[in-house]
Protein backbone atom coordinates (compact mmCIF):
# COMPACT_ATOMS: atom_id res chain seq x y z
CA UNK A 1 0.00 0.00 0.00
CA UNK A 2 2.86 2.35 0.77
CA UNK A 3 4.48 1.51 -2.54
CA UNK A 4 4.93 4.86 -4.32
CA UNK A 5 4.64 3.17 -7.71
CA UNK A 6 1.03 2.40 -6.95
CA UNK A 7 0.05 6.03 -7.52
CA UNK A 8 -0.78 6.14 -11.19
CA UNK A 9 -2.40 9.46 -12.12
CA UNK A 10 -3.34 8.32 -15.63
CA UNK A 11 -5.13 5.15 -14.56
CA UNK A 12 -8.38 7.01 -13.84
CA UNK A 13 -8.84 7.73 -17.56
CA UNK A 14 -8.67 4.11 -18.69
CA UNK A 15 -11.59 2.93 -20.80
CA UNK A 16 -12.98 -0.49 -19.94
CA UNK A 17 -15.72 -2.46 -21.64
CA UNK A 18 -18.72 -3.21 -19.49
CA UNK A 19 -20.43 -5.37 -22.09
CA UNK A 20 -20.33 -5.51 -25.87
CA UNK A 21 -22.67 -6.40 -28.68
CA UNK A 22 -21.32 -8.42 -31.58
CA UNK A 23 -17.74 -9.57 -31.35
CA UNK A 24 -15.23 -11.32 -33.56
CA UNK A 25 -17.72 -13.60 -35.28
CA UNK A 26 -20.37 -11.00 -35.97
CA UNK A 27 -18.03 -8.72 -37.91
CA UNK A 28 -18.79 -5.74 -35.73
CA UNK A 29 -18.18 -4.92 -32.11
CA UNK A 30 -20.09 -2.25 -30.25
CA UNK A 31 -18.81 -1.93 -26.73
CA UNK A 32 -20.66 -0.26 -23.89
CA UNK A 33 -17.75 1.26 -21.97
CA UNK A 34 -17.48 3.00 -18.63
CA UNK A 35 -17.44 6.25 -20.63
CA UNK A 36 -20.80 5.36 -22.19
CA UNK A 37 -22.13 4.45 -18.78
CA UNK A 38 -21.28 7.85 -17.38
CA UNK A 39 -22.74 9.62 -20.40
CA UNK A 40 -25.98 7.73 -19.78
CA UNK A 41 -25.82 8.62 -16.07
CA UNK A 42 -25.24 12.28 -16.98
CA UNK A 43 -28.22 12.41 -19.32
CA UNK A 44 -30.44 10.54 -16.86
CA UNK A 45 -29.38 12.87 -14.02
CA UNK A 46 -30.14 15.99 -16.04
CA UNK A 47 -33.46 14.69 -17.36
CA UNK A 48 -34.75 13.43 -14.06
CA UNK A 49 -33.65 16.57 -12.23
CA UNK A 50 -35.32 18.90 -14.72
CA UNK A 51 -38.49 16.83 -15.04
CA UNK A 52 -38.91 16.27 -11.30
CA UNK A 53 -38.05 19.82 -10.28
CA UNK A 54 -40.47 21.41 -12.73
CA UNK A 55 -43.29 18.89 -12.30
CA UNK A 56 -44.85 20.96 -9.51
CA UNK A 57 -45.26 23.98 -11.82
CA UNK A 58 -45.68 26.23 -8.84
CA UNK A 59 -46.36 29.87 -9.55
CA UNK A 60 -44.14 30.51 -6.56
CA UNK A 61 -41.26 28.11 -7.21
CA UNK A 62 -39.85 25.81 -4.58
CA UNK A 63 -36.11 25.42 -4.07
CA UNK A 64 -35.55 22.83 -6.79
CA UNK A 65 -37.85 24.52 -9.27
CA UNK A 66 -36.03 27.79 -8.59
CA UNK A 67 -32.73 26.10 -9.34
CA UNK A 68 -33.88 24.79 -12.72
CA UNK A 69 -35.47 28.17 -13.52
CA UNK A 70 -32.16 29.85 -12.69
CA UNK A 71 -30.33 27.48 -15.02
CA UNK A 72 -32.84 28.29 -17.74
CA UNK A 73 -32.52 32.04 -17.20
CA UNK A 74 -28.74 31.85 -17.11
CA UNK A 75 -28.45 30.08 -20.45
CA UNK A 76 -31.27 32.11 -22.00
CA UNK A 77 -29.53 35.39 -21.09
CA UNK A 78 -26.25 34.04 -22.42
CA UNK A 79 -27.80 33.09 -25.77
CA UNK A 80 -29.72 36.37 -26.03
CA UNK A 81 -26.71 38.54 -25.28
CA UNK A 82 -24.37 36.84 -27.74
CA UNK A 83 -26.67 35.60 -30.53
CA UNK A 84 -29.63 37.98 -30.19
CA UNK A 85 -33.32 37.10 -29.94
CA UNK A 86 -33.06 35.26 -33.25
CA UNK A 87 -30.56 32.92 -31.60
CA UNK A 88 -33.20 31.74 -29.13
CA UNK A 89 -34.27 29.07 -31.62
CA UNK A 90 -30.98 27.40 -30.71
CA UNK A 91 -31.69 27.65 -26.99
CA UNK A 92 -32.54 23.92 -26.59
CA UNK A 93 -29.27 23.03 -28.30
CA UNK A 94 -27.09 25.35 -26.20
CA UNK A 95 -28.91 24.40 -23.01
CA UNK A 96 -28.41 20.68 -23.67
CA UNK A 97 -24.72 21.19 -24.38
CA UNK A 98 -24.23 23.36 -21.31
CA UNK A 99 -26.02 20.95 -19.00
CA UNK A 100 -24.25 17.91 -20.43
CA UNK A 101 -20.78 19.41 -20.05
CA UNK A 102 -21.56 20.87 -16.62
CA UNK A 103 -23.01 17.69 -15.16
CA UNK A 104 -20.35 15.48 -16.77
CA UNK A 105 -17.62 17.70 -15.29
CA UNK A 106 -19.22 17.77 -11.87
CA UNK A 107 -19.85 14.01 -11.83
CA UNK A 108 -16.16 13.58 -12.59
CA UNK A 109 -15.39 15.27 -9.28
CA UNK A 110 -16.97 12.41 -7.32
CA UNK A 111 -14.28 9.95 -6.22
CA UNK A 112 -14.08 6.77 -8.34
CA UNK A 113 -16.28 8.33 -11.02
CA UNK A 114 -15.18 8.57 -14.62
CA UNK A 115 -14.81 11.99 -16.22
CA UNK A 116 -16.41 11.83 -19.66
CA UNK A 117 -15.05 15.20 -20.77
CA UNK A 118 -11.44 14.24 -20.06
CA UNK A 119 -11.28 12.35 -23.37
CA UNK A 120 -10.60 14.51 -26.39
CA UNK A 121 -12.73 12.38 -28.69
CA UNK A 122 -15.81 13.23 -26.61
CA UNK A 123 -15.15 16.97 -26.52
CA UNK A 124 -14.15 16.95 -30.18
CA UNK A 125 -17.42 15.23 -31.09
CA UNK A 126 -19.31 17.93 -29.17
CA UNK A 127 -17.32 20.69 -30.92
CA UNK A 128 -17.88 19.13 -34.36
CA UNK A 129 -21.59 18.99 -33.59
CA UNK A 130 -21.51 22.73 -32.89
CA UNK A 131 -19.57 23.56 -36.05
CA UNK A 132 -21.80 21.30 -38.17
CA UNK A 133 -24.88 23.09 -36.87
CA UNK A 134 -23.23 26.46 -37.61
CA UNK A 135 -22.30 25.42 -41.16
CA UNK A 136 -25.62 23.75 -42.01
CA UNK A 137 -27.74 26.53 -40.57
CA UNK A 138 -25.50 29.24 -42.03
CA UNK A 139 -25.78 27.88 -45.56
CA UNK A 140 -29.50 27.13 -45.14
CA UNK A 141 -30.32 30.62 -43.98
CA UNK A 142 -27.90 32.76 -45.99
CA UNK A 143 -27.11 30.52 -48.97
CA UNK A 144 -23.75 31.41 -50.44
CA UNK A 145 -23.93 34.71 -48.55
CA UNK A 146 -22.61 32.73 -45.59
CA UNK A 147 -19.20 32.83 -47.30
CA UNK A 148 -19.14 36.55 -46.51
CA UNK A 149 -18.03 35.37 -43.07
CA UNK A 150 -14.60 34.83 -44.63
CA UNK A 151 -14.46 38.25 -46.28
CA UNK A 152 -14.11 41.03 -43.70
CA UNK A 153 -15.89 44.23 -44.65
CA UNK A 154 -13.81 47.15 -45.90
CA UNK A 155 -10.75 45.18 -46.97
CA UNK A 156 -9.28 46.25 -50.35
CA UNK A 157 -9.43 43.61 -53.10
CA UNK A 158 -5.70 43.02 -53.49
CA UNK A 159 -5.19 41.74 -49.92
CA UNK A 160 -8.15 39.35 -50.15
CA UNK A 161 -5.98 36.42 -51.41
CA UNK A 162 -4.06 36.67 -48.13
CA UNK A 163 -6.95 37.49 -45.81
CA UNK A 164 -9.36 34.79 -46.99
CA UNK A 165 -7.07 31.79 -46.25
CA UNK A 166 -6.33 33.31 -42.84
CA UNK A 167 -10.04 33.70 -42.11
CA UNK A 168 -10.72 30.13 -43.26
CA UNK A 169 -7.97 28.68 -41.08
CA UNK A 170 -9.22 30.81 -38.21
CA UNK A 171 -12.71 29.36 -38.70
CA UNK A 172 -11.42 25.80 -38.97
CA UNK A 173 -9.43 26.21 -35.75
CA UNK A 174 -12.63 26.80 -33.77
CA UNK A 175 -13.63 23.17 -33.20
CA UNK A 176 -10.02 22.37 -32.27
CA UNK A 177 -9.66 25.14 -29.72
CA UNK A 178 -13.16 24.50 -28.37
CA UNK A 179 -12.51 20.82 -27.77
CA UNK A 180 -8.87 21.08 -26.67
CA UNK A 181 -9.72 23.74 -24.08
CA UNK A 182 -12.37 21.63 -22.34
CA UNK A 183 -10.39 18.40 -22.60
CA UNK A 184 -7.09 19.91 -21.44
CA UNK A 185 -8.66 21.65 -18.47
CA UNK A 186 -10.38 18.52 -17.22
CA UNK A 187 -7.43 16.21 -17.89
CA UNK A 188 -4.83 18.51 -16.32
CA UNK A 189 -7.02 19.22 -13.31
CA UNK A 190 -7.67 15.57 -12.55
CA UNK A 191 -4.03 14.60 -13.01
CA UNK A 192 -2.83 17.41 -10.72
CA UNK A 193 -5.35 16.40 -8.11
CA UNK A 194 -4.28 12.77 -8.27
CA UNK A 195 -0.57 13.63 -8.13
CA UNK A 196 -0.94 15.79 -5.04
CA UNK A 197 -3.17 13.21 -3.38
CA UNK A 198 -0.53 10.61 -4.26
CA UNK A 199 2.12 12.63 -2.39
CA UNK A 200 0.12 12.12 0.79
CA UNK A 201 0.30 8.34 0.44
CA UNK A 202 3.97 8.40 -0.50
CA UNK A 203 4.97 10.70 2.37
CA UNK A 204 2.97 8.77 4.93
CA UNK A 205 5.22 5.74 4.37
CA UNK A 206 8.03 7.63 6.13
CA UNK A 207 6.44 7.36 9.54
CA UNK A 208 5.54 10.24 11.82
CA UNK A 209 7.67 12.89 10.06
CA UNK A 210 6.09 11.83 6.82
CA UNK A 211 2.62 12.24 8.28
CA UNK A 212 3.54 15.78 9.36
CA UNK A 213 4.95 16.55 5.93
CA UNK A 214 1.83 15.17 4.28
CA UNK A 215 -0.12 18.11 5.69
CA UNK A 216 1.30 20.28 2.88
CA UNK A 217 0.08 18.20 -0.09
CA UNK A 218 -3.14 17.55 1.80
CA UNK A 219 -3.96 21.24 2.08
CA UNK A 220 -2.98 21.61 -1.57
CA UNK A 221 -5.40 18.82 -2.52
CA UNK A 222 -8.22 20.52 -0.65
CA UNK A 223 -7.51 23.80 -2.42
CA UNK A 224 -7.23 22.08 -5.80
CA UNK A 225 -10.56 20.33 -5.27
CA UNK A 226 -12.23 23.69 -4.82
CA UNK A 227 -10.42 25.01 -7.89
CA UNK A 228 -11.55 21.99 -9.91
CA UNK A 229 -15.19 22.64 -9.04
CA UNK A 230 -14.71 26.20 -10.27
CA UNK A 231 -13.02 24.99 -13.46
CA UNK A 232 -15.81 22.45 -14.08
CA UNK A 233 -18.50 25.12 -14.01
CA UNK A 234 -16.36 27.68 -15.83
CA UNK A 235 -15.47 25.39 -18.72
CA UNK A 236 -19.11 24.42 -19.21
CA UNK A 237 -19.94 28.12 -19.29
CA UNK A 238 -17.11 28.92 -21.74
CA UNK A 239 -18.20 26.08 -24.01
CA UNK A 240 -21.78 27.33 -24.08
CA UNK A 241 -20.79 30.99 -24.58
CA UNK A 242 -18.53 30.17 -27.49
CA UNK A 243 -21.25 27.97 -28.99
CA UNK A 244 -23.70 30.84 -28.95
CA UNK A 245 -21.04 33.18 -30.40
CA UNK A 246 -20.43 30.79 -33.30
CA UNK A 247 -24.18 30.44 -33.80
CA UNK A 248 -24.31 34.22 -33.97
CA UNK A 249 -21.93 34.03 -36.93
CA UNK A 250 -24.29 31.62 -38.65
CA UNK A 251 -27.23 33.95 -38.09
CA UNK A 252 -25.46 37.21 -38.99
CA UNK A 253 -22.48 36.24 -41.19
CA UNK A 254 -21.12 39.74 -41.91
CA UNK A 255 -18.64 40.93 -39.29
Amino acid sequence: MADPNKVDPIHQFAITDIFSIGGEGAGFNIAFTNSSLFMVITVLAISSFLILSTSGRGLVPGRLQLLSEMLYEFVANMVRSSAGTEGMKFFPFVFSLFMFVLVANLLGMVPYFFTVTSHIIVTFALAMLVITVVLVYGFMKNGLGFLKLFVPAGVPGYVLPIVIPIEIVSFLSRPISLSVRLFANMLAGHITLKVFAGFIVTLSSFGFVGWLGAILPFSMTVALTALEFLVSALQAYVFAVLTSMYLNDAIHPSH
Partner: protein
Protein backbone atom coordinates in the same frame (compact mmCIF):
# COMPACT_ATOMS: atom_id res chain seq x y z
CA UNK B 1 -11.40 68.21 -10.16
CA UNK B 2 -7.70 67.99 -10.69
CA UNK B 3 -7.25 65.93 -7.56
CA UNK B 4 -8.90 62.88 -9.05
CA UNK B 5 -7.48 60.78 -11.83
CA UNK B 6 -10.34 58.33 -11.76
CA UNK B 7 -13.31 60.62 -11.79
CA UNK B 8 -16.69 59.42 -12.94
CA UNK B 9 -19.72 61.54 -13.65
CA UNK B 10 -21.37 61.03 -10.28
CA UNK B 11 -18.15 61.72 -8.46
CA UNK B 12 -17.68 64.92 -10.43
CA UNK B 13 -21.12 65.98 -9.34
CA UNK B 14 -20.40 65.14 -5.74
CA UNK B 15 -17.14 67.08 -5.51
CA UNK B 16 -18.88 70.30 -6.54
CA UNK B 17 -21.33 70.10 -3.66
CA UNK B 18 -18.60 71.10 -1.25
CA UNK B 19 -18.75 70.23 2.44
CA UNK B 20 -20.88 67.14 1.98
CA UNK B 21 -18.68 65.87 -0.81
CA UNK B 22 -16.95 63.25 1.32
CA UNK B 23 -20.23 61.67 2.43
CA UNK B 24 -21.69 61.76 -1.04
CA UNK B 25 -18.59 60.29 -2.54
CA UNK B 26 -18.57 57.44 -0.02
CA UNK B 27 -22.23 56.79 -0.75
CA UNK B 28 -21.65 56.79 -4.51
CA UNK B 29 -18.78 54.38 -4.03
CA UNK B 30 -21.00 52.09 -1.96
CA UNK B 31 -23.80 52.21 -4.53
CA UNK B 32 -21.40 51.46 -7.35
CA UNK B 33 -19.83 48.55 -5.50
CA UNK B 34 -23.26 47.15 -4.69
CA UNK B 35 -24.25 47.51 -8.33
CA UNK B 36 -21.06 45.80 -9.37
CA UNK B 37 -21.73 42.92 -6.97
CA UNK B 38 -25.30 42.55 -8.14
CA UNK B 39 -24.24 42.82 -11.77
CA UNK B 40 -26.74 45.58 -12.50
CA UNK B 41 -26.34 47.42 -15.75
CA UNK B 42 -24.19 44.86 -17.53
CA UNK B 43 -25.64 41.84 -19.27
CA UNK B 44 -22.26 40.51 -20.29
CA UNK B 45 -20.74 40.63 -16.81
CA UNK B 46 -20.37 36.86 -16.56
CA UNK B 47 -17.42 36.81 -18.98
CA UNK B 48 -15.59 39.32 -16.79
CA UNK B 49 -15.18 37.05 -13.81
CA UNK B 50 -13.23 34.49 -15.71
CA UNK B 51 -10.12 33.82 -13.71
CA UNK B 52 -6.76 34.87 -15.09
CA UNK B 53 -5.90 31.22 -15.61
CA UNK B 54 -9.01 30.63 -17.71
CA UNK B 55 -8.21 33.67 -19.86
CA UNK B 56 -4.66 32.49 -20.42
CA UNK B 57 -5.77 28.99 -21.38
CA UNK B 58 -8.36 30.42 -23.73
CA UNK B 59 -5.86 32.63 -25.57
CA UNK B 60 -3.28 29.85 -25.66
CA UNK B 61 -5.58 27.27 -27.21
CA UNK B 62 -6.93 29.77 -29.75
CA UNK B 63 -3.39 30.42 -30.92
CA UNK B 64 -2.14 26.82 -30.96
CA UNK B 65 -5.27 25.46 -32.61
CA UNK B 66 -4.91 27.76 -35.63
CA UNK B 67 -1.27 26.76 -36.15
CA UNK B 68 -2.19 23.07 -35.89
CA UNK B 69 -4.99 23.46 -38.43
CA UNK B 70 -2.66 25.31 -40.82
CA UNK B 71 -0.04 22.61 -40.39
CA UNK B 72 -2.61 19.85 -40.96
CA UNK B 73 -4.01 21.40 -44.14
CA UNK B 74 -0.52 21.99 -45.53
CA UNK B 75 0.70 18.50 -44.59
CA UNK B 76 -2.16 16.72 -46.34
CA UNK B 77 -2.03 19.04 -49.34
CA UNK B 78 1.66 18.15 -49.65
CA UNK B 79 0.81 14.43 -49.49
CA UNK B 80 -1.70 14.87 -52.30
CA UNK B 81 0.39 17.07 -54.57
CA UNK B 82 3.76 15.57 -53.67
CA UNK B 83 5.23 19.01 -53.09
CA UNK B 84 6.64 18.42 -49.61
CA UNK B 85 7.34 20.58 -47.66
CA UNK B 86 6.37 23.81 -49.42
CA UNK B 87 2.59 24.01 -48.94
CA UNK B 88 3.05 22.99 -45.32
CA UNK B 89 5.50 25.82 -44.69
CA UNK B 90 3.17 28.37 -46.25
CA UNK B 91 0.14 27.04 -44.39
CA UNK B 92 1.94 27.09 -41.03
CA UNK B 93 2.58 30.80 -41.61
CA UNK B 94 -1.06 31.30 -42.56
CA UNK B 95 -2.02 29.38 -39.43
CA UNK B 96 0.24 31.64 -37.37
CA UNK B 97 -1.52 34.70 -38.79
CA UNK B 98 -4.91 33.11 -38.11
CA UNK B 99 -3.77 32.37 -34.55
CA UNK B 100 -2.87 36.00 -34.00
CA UNK B 101 -6.26 36.98 -35.44
CA UNK B 102 -7.99 34.56 -33.04
CA UNK B 103 -6.09 35.93 -30.05
CA UNK B 104 -6.83 39.55 -30.99
CA UNK B 105 -10.52 38.73 -31.44
CA UNK B 106 -10.91 36.94 -28.13
CA UNK B 107 -8.92 39.66 -26.33
CA UNK B 108 -11.30 42.21 -27.82
CA UNK B 109 -14.25 40.19 -26.56
CA UNK B 110 -12.74 40.04 -23.09
CA UNK B 111 -12.09 43.80 -23.10
CA UNK B 112 -15.63 44.51 -24.21
CA UNK B 113 -16.97 42.39 -21.36
CA UNK B 114 -15.04 44.18 -18.61
CA UNK B 115 -17.17 46.25 -16.27
CA UNK B 116 -15.71 49.69 -15.62
CA UNK B 117 -15.92 50.59 -11.95
CA UNK B 118 -14.85 53.79 -10.19
CA UNK B 119 -11.94 52.09 -8.47
CA UNK B 120 -10.27 51.28 -11.79
CA UNK B 121 -7.52 53.59 -12.96
CA UNK B 122 -7.76 53.77 -16.71
CA UNK B 123 -4.93 56.27 -17.05
CA UNK B 124 -5.07 60.03 -17.50
CA UNK B 125 -8.33 61.43 -18.82
CA UNK B 126 -9.09 64.47 -20.99
CA UNK B 127 -10.12 66.66 -18.09
CA UNK B 128 -7.08 65.86 -15.93
CA UNK B 129 -5.04 69.04 -16.18
CA UNK B 130 -1.50 69.08 -14.88
CA UNK B 131 -1.84 65.96 -12.83
CA UNK B 132 -1.19 63.13 -15.05
Amino acid sequence: MSNSTKSTSDKKASTSIGSRSEDTRALAEKINLAKKDAGIGNEKKSESHLTGHARAVRLGTEFIAAILVGFGIGYFADLIFGSSPWIMLVMVLVGFAAGVLNVVRSANEMNAAVVITPDMDLGPEDDDVGNG
